[in-house]
């Protein structure tokens, strides 16, 4: 069903439609469900083959839950996650459990914390070779060769493969995590905050490595992050999330140059710029992020939005395509002219 419109664009690898994940809130002796935390609430986006889409947003906006639903690490409440795998389109969200394992060689994950995501009792050979073992690929010698190749690919010396993770620094450990994710030749790599736990000088190395690998292996990334400067560096398109919903999706350059959603504007202006001459007037959002268990009526952002009108308080905005590939959910998207990042057009 997606093939109709996908034919016009580049090949769509992943098509997420109306994805929802509600976590029940249970109280009392009988554990009665008294409400739901709407962690992901009607999220729709697509991901083309070979591109990088970033999901940005503040903590608690549902970006990690979205990525975990896509991998089916958790089962979504509703919605479709269509992955095109070897010519056929599979709905990851409803696929029976026994078919999931074979699907997982198509999609892998890179984790945030390189210290807790590697088992300290396993050597690099065990860690990076485990996906191969699980999927029954090759014999011991072939696996060792593949691990050596993977380690070389991520910039580690293959001689290190008998060592344990504690012997490596944060950046090197993140490289190990990347090697493990690449072991099965996945097409989709979900990277959940892969650089936020690293030192600034090491962040750049890992970002460059991710860009290199994408070029070499034709990978598709879903990049989950909260740091907008990192996001700008890695992605082709950006989706901004707020309280379980995507409020704006646009090509990177366009999102930073002409944001159309007031939340995107505020988010961009809140990033401290590493230049003391640019101590700009920031838009400081007042109040707190809406509670996903008790969402406000209308647009979720209206209590903090300085452009809010009566309609924003009553009606939920629908996602509109206001420019090619630029989707916004805001009642006033067409009339507002919002501030972009200073100097963005001159660079």
């Amino acid at each position: 069903m997606t093939n109709g419109d996908a034919g016009l664009k580049k090949t769509v690898l992943l098509d997420v439609k109306g994805l929802k994940k509600y976590f029940p809130i249970r109280r009392g002796f009988l554990q009665k469900t008294i409400g739901h935390v709407k962690a992901v609430d009607d999220v729709t986006f697509f991901l083309n083959q070979g591109e990088t889409l970033s999901l940005v947003g503040e903590s608690g906006c549902g970006k990690t839950t979205t990525s975990r639903c896509i991998l089916r690490a958790i089962t979504p409440t509703a919605g479709e996650v269509l992955l095109s795998a070897d010519g056929e389109i599979l709905d990851v969200a409803t696929l029976p459990k026994n078919r999931l394992r074979s699907l997982r060689c198509q999609m892998q994950m890179i984790f945030q914390d390189p210290f807790s995501s590697l088992n300290p009792r396993m050597t690099l050979l065990d860690i990076v070779g485990e996906p191969l073992l699980v999927h029954g690929e090759g014999n011991a010698q072939e696996r060792t060769d593949r691990v050596a190749e993977l380690l070389r690919l991520v910039g580690l010396r293959p001689e290190y493969m008998r060592r344990y993770p504690h012997a490596f620094s944060g950046g090197q450990r993140q490289r190990i995590g990347i090697a493990r994710a690449l072991a099965l030749n996945p097409r989709l790599v979900v990277a959940d905050e892969p650089v936020s736990a690293l030192d600034v000088s090491v962040q750049a190395q890992i970002l460059n490595l991710l860009l290199d690998l994408q070029e070499k292996l034709g990978l598709t990334y879903l990049f989950v992050a909260h740091d907008l400067s990192v996001v700008k560096h890695i992605s082709e398109r950006v989706a901004v999330m707020y309280v379980g919903r995507i409020v704006e999706t646009a090509p990177t350059e366009e999102l930073f140059a002409s944001p159309k959603h007031p939340y995107t504007e505020a988010l961009l202006s809140a990033v401290p710029k590493p230049d003391p001459r640019l101590r700009s007037e920031r838009i400081v959002l007042q109040g707190e992020v809406a509670d996903p268990a008790n969402t406000p009526p209308g647009c979720y952002f209206h209590p903090r939005c300085s452009y809010a009108e009566a309609v924003c308080r009553e009606m939920t905005p629908v996602q509109e395509e206001i420019a090619p590939n630029h989707f916004v959910s805001c009642h006033r998207a067409r009339e507002l002219s919002l501030r972009c990042v200073a100097r963005c057009s001159t660079v």
Binding site: A204, Q205, D227, H233, F256, P272, R279, V347
Partner: protein, 334 residues
């Protein structure tokens, strides 16, 4: 122009070591800098560069087996006299009066720095009563006042809540309220916004700036985020592996960095203003483990301008290079 006033805090050649079975770690080695009244000093560096241990040394709360080995920390008191904090006993009456009284501290992680079994109010009132001879009622009034001044809505109600009932941003505001409840003249903020989201970070930075203007206090801002430093600081100290590598005015550091480490660090950070999907220049290698600190200049194995025979043999000292700037690099030494 600053000759007429004394710095509020003057750290001279501070050296703090940790004596462990595996060996001695020189967490801070020869750090020197001044904090001026009403100004913000930014201390930048990556993990393990000794920025937090510097703050702990100033407050004399370095954990065992750490010890200040040498150096002076001169604090100008309200009456104009100078006290060397290194000479005071850690738990002496005077040190305890300074800690929280003259110098306030904000920690990185507001969740773990509050006690979960006491209300926010109890913890503020404790701080107020420790440093002032006031009754419980008056202390509570001051506590509510402090919470209001940091922009917490309904402070009369919030004061009786527990820290876990507050959101991240409010918790950090409450932390600031505790630190400011006794009107410190110096506020040490150790990564105050690292655990927060960008929008909340912007709120907290604005709050710190507003409070600084109102009270004229000095802020020592410790962070690894160069963006935060560029927004907040007047002067900047760049640290690497326990040493100050460069020191100067914020504009000079960002627009005319001298030390190769500062230069490389500034180039390697992704900026929101640069074009998308461009390779970043990187600093090769990673930060050495404190046990096998390289000989000579600590940065030389990763430095592009390292001269063999010099940088790997001798250690450069922090020298004045004019214009109020100090650099510790052989490239800039006469």
């Amino acid at each position: 122009m600053r000759n007429d006033t004394k710095p509020l805090l003057s750290v001279k050649n501070l050296k703090t070591c940790f004596f462990q079975d595996e060996g001695t770690t020189e967490a801070v080695n020869g750090a020197s800098f001044d904090v001026w009244p009403g100004k913000t000093l930014g201390i930048v560096g990556e993990s393990g560069c000794g920025k937090s241990v510097t703050a702990q040394s100033i407050l004399r709360i370095v954990d065992d087996p750490g010890r200040i080995v040498e150096g002076e920390i001169l604090l100008t008191r309200a009456d104009g006299t100078q006290t060397d904090l290194v000479k005071l006993k850690r738990n002496s009456r005077e040190m305890r009066a300074i800690r929280g009284g003259d110098i306030g501290l904000i920690f990185q992680e507001p969740m773990t720095s509050f006690s979960p079994v006491h209300t926010v109010g109890t913890q503020i009132i404790e701080a107020v009563r420790l440093h002032n001879t006031v009754g419980k009622k008056e202390a509570r009034r001051r506590g509510i006042e402090a919470l209001r001044s940091v922009g917490i809505p309904k402070p009369e109600r919030r004061i009786d809540e527990y820290s876990f009932e507050l959101s991240g941003g409010l918790r950090q505001r409450a932390m600031i309220a505790v630190a400011l409840s006794c009107d410190p003249r110096l506020l040490i903020a150790d990564e105050p916004t690292t655990a927060l989201d960008v929008t909340t970070q912007a709120q907290i930075l604005d709050l710190l700036r507003k409070l600084q203007q109102e009270r004229g206090m000095a802020i020592m801002l410790i962070t690894h985020n160069l963006g935060v430093v560029a927004e907040m600081a007047d002067d900047v100290v760049v640290m690497y592996l326990g040493r100050v590598v460069e020191e100067g005015n914020v504009d000079d550091i960002f627009h005319d960095p001298r030390h190769p480490y500062t230069k490389a660090l500034l180039k390697s950070i992704p900026s929101i203003e640069s074009p998308p999907r461009v390779k970043l220049p990187t600093i090769s290698g990673s930060i050495p483990h404190p046990y096998n600190r390289p000989k000579g200049c600590p940065f030389h194995p990763r430095c592009v301008s390292a001269t063999a025979g010099r940088c790997d043999a001798e250690e450069p000292l922090l020298q004045d290079v004019g214009g109020g700037r100090k650099v510790s690099c052989f490239l800039h030494q006469r």
